[in-house]
Amino acid sequence: MAKYRREQKKNFLKKIVGLFPFIIFCLAFEFVPIFILVRDSFSLKSGDLTLQHYQSAFEPTYLKGFWNSIKLSGVTALIGTFLGAGIGYQIFKWPNKKIQSTLITLSDVTTNFAGAPLAFGFIIILGSAGVVTKFLLNTFHWKIYPDFSIYSFTGLILTYVYFQLPLMVLLIIPAFSGLRQDWREAAQNLGANKMEYWRNVGIPILMPSMIAGYMLLFANAFGAYATAFTLTGLRLPLITMQIGSAISGEVMREQGHGQALAVISLLIMGACIAIYQMGTNKARKWSGH
């Protein structure tokens, strides 16, 4: 009996050994760093516990950073969700399948055009010496600067929406195809007109996908760094910029406030991804898979 148990134990060990690289990797490069990050955000250099870093995270500079990030993510995710859903619907309904799949491929490919190349693309068009800017100035004597600026919050919105839109299109098209024909027919059969179908059945069934889409888009914008960095440098404070600065030590302070900012960002992103996950799970369950 004892021997058998020992055998079993050996077997189990043999089986689990194969998972060690992964476990060690996750510990070393995911959990321990994050754990220490959280710990540091609560402790002083001396090792004492403190909330001081969180207090400094709520200083006006950082509040501004959070507010800008949330505003930017919220607005571009909103625009992205609704415009993207609308465009996605039109693509979904496109009668010619060839053109339809070309449009989907376009959305797929443009998601690769992000970060620095994207920001620079918009600088080429609408920067202070941009092609369109100059063209409007030379041809129509219309000076769009400084009323408009691509290096401003508006410019960031324009640029972020660029990567939000195709992502939403790609997310929502499966949701539209998940709307089963026979739900529509069943609704009609039970006396619903088109409007009543959408209000009672179509939109509620799309809702989890829409919410999931919004959350993913929000997280997508919230965590972005390269696009804004290229476009605005450090002029327009976003929270990711401020955390970045904390790394390079551009702001000399008691270490720890960067960690506090990071932990708060982590919580925001975590919430978004959790809701995103719940939404997609629900949508998957409803579509029967």
Binding site: E185, A186, A187, L190, G191, P204, W286, S287
Partner: protein, 349 residues
């Protein structure tokens, strides 16, 4: 006066006929089933009645009124979908209430009415669950309840049981029949399961390749098939291909089959003589004094099926299928004689 009339309905998809010259009268309160192989146009016909497809030609009348131009949501024809099509975002009760709300029923009457039909399908305790928390059979019954709640003028069921286990199917088809008879609701039931069609219908419409082969009571369909297709599609039949020879026999390559039913045909007409397996007696000796057909052969296959045993008997030219009582014992390769009455033999073109 028929309650639902389909007059010369035709429908093509991209020039391919899905339904051709379909004529049918359904009486009020009856259950009529559409039976036929896959792709023969059953669903298409049903969808035309529900209003999801428009016939290319022909008229559909319900209670004396041409409904061809009424949109589906105004027809008040209930439909149960093969996939149930329950709304996943609503509870069972909300699903059932949906149709009532769309029909602008008074608010305080909706829930009681919904509970009433839920009782009817014996699932009152599932009212607050979501469809994905129900078994297939339960979902099917909720779909039925939802369609019944609006008190439809006609109830359409498109292979409502095809996704379920054999056992559940038998129970549920009885349930559907019970409810249908109690409510006296005119029903069209699509299936490709012949046993299902024969067991629950008042009348059966056998379809093949977009047209109707035969309409009749289950007994008529089984006992007096009008076409070879019906005879072979419903149940099993042994067929002898040959030509009419005299008033009372069909001559095939090797056999002369005696029959009482050849008088409708002229001498020399190409026909099929058909015999059902259960009409055939099998003897281990050569039977004497039999007025009919006797053929000699060897037992080729034996399939025990409980109360009866199905034998395949090789008679040289072909293998004959015969059902014998389960207690009779035969062995492979045994020499036997098959006999069937000349009355039992149908002749069809």
């Amino acid at each position: 006066m028929a309650y639902l009339t389909l007059a010369d309905i035709s429908k093509n998809f991209n020039k391919n006929p899905a339904v051709e010259h379909f004529n049918l009268d359904v009486e009020k309160g009856k259950l009529v089933s559409f039976l036929g192989p896959s792709g023969c146009g059953k669903t298409t016909t049903l969808r035309m009645i529900a209003g999801f497809e428009t016939p290319d030609s022909g008229v559909i009348e319900l209670d004396g009124e041409d409904i061809s131009n009424i949109p589906p949501n105004k027809r008040n024809i209930g439909m149960v979908f093969q996939s149930y099509a329950l709304f996943p975002n609503m509870t069972v009760l909300d699903n059932i209430c949906f149709g009532l709300r769309m029909h602008k029923m008074l608010k305080n009457q909706i829930v009681p009415k919904a509970r009433e039909v839920l009782d009817l399908v014996r699932l009152s305790d599932t009212a607050n669950r979501y469809p994905n928390q129900l078994s297939g059979g339960q979902q099917q019954r909720i779909a039925l309840a939802r369609a019944l709640a609006i008190e439809p003028r006609v109830l359409l069921l498109d292979e409502p049981l095809s996704a379920l286990d054999a056992e559940v199917r038998v129970v549920l088809r009885g349930e559907i029949r019970r409810i249908q008879t109690n409510l006296k609701i005119t029903t069209i039931y699509v299936t490709h399961d012949q046993e299902e069609a024969l067991s629950i219908s008042d009348r059966v419409v056998v379809m093949n390749k977009a047209h109707i082969e035969q309409v009749g009571t289950p007994q008529e369909i089984y006992r007096e098939p009008k076409t070879k297709f019906v005879a072979t599609f419903i149940g099993t039949a042994n067929e002898f291909h040959g030509s009419v020879c005299g008033k009372d026999s069909v001559k095939s390559a090797e056999f002369l089959i005696k029959t009482n039913n050849a008088s409708l045909f002229a001498d020399g007409d190409e026909v099929f003589a058909l015999v059902r397996p259960e009409k055939i007696d099998v003897y281990s000796y050569k039977p004497e004094n039999i007025d009919g057909n006797v053929l000699e052969g060897l037992v080729d296959t034996i399939t025990f099926r409980g109360a009866e045993t199905r034998l395949g008997i090789d008679i040289g030219e072909k293998v004959i299928t015969a059902d014998v009582p389960g207690k009779d014992v035969f062995s492979y390769g045994q020499r036997v004689w098959v006999a069937f009455d000349s009355n039992a033999c149908q002749v069809l073109k």
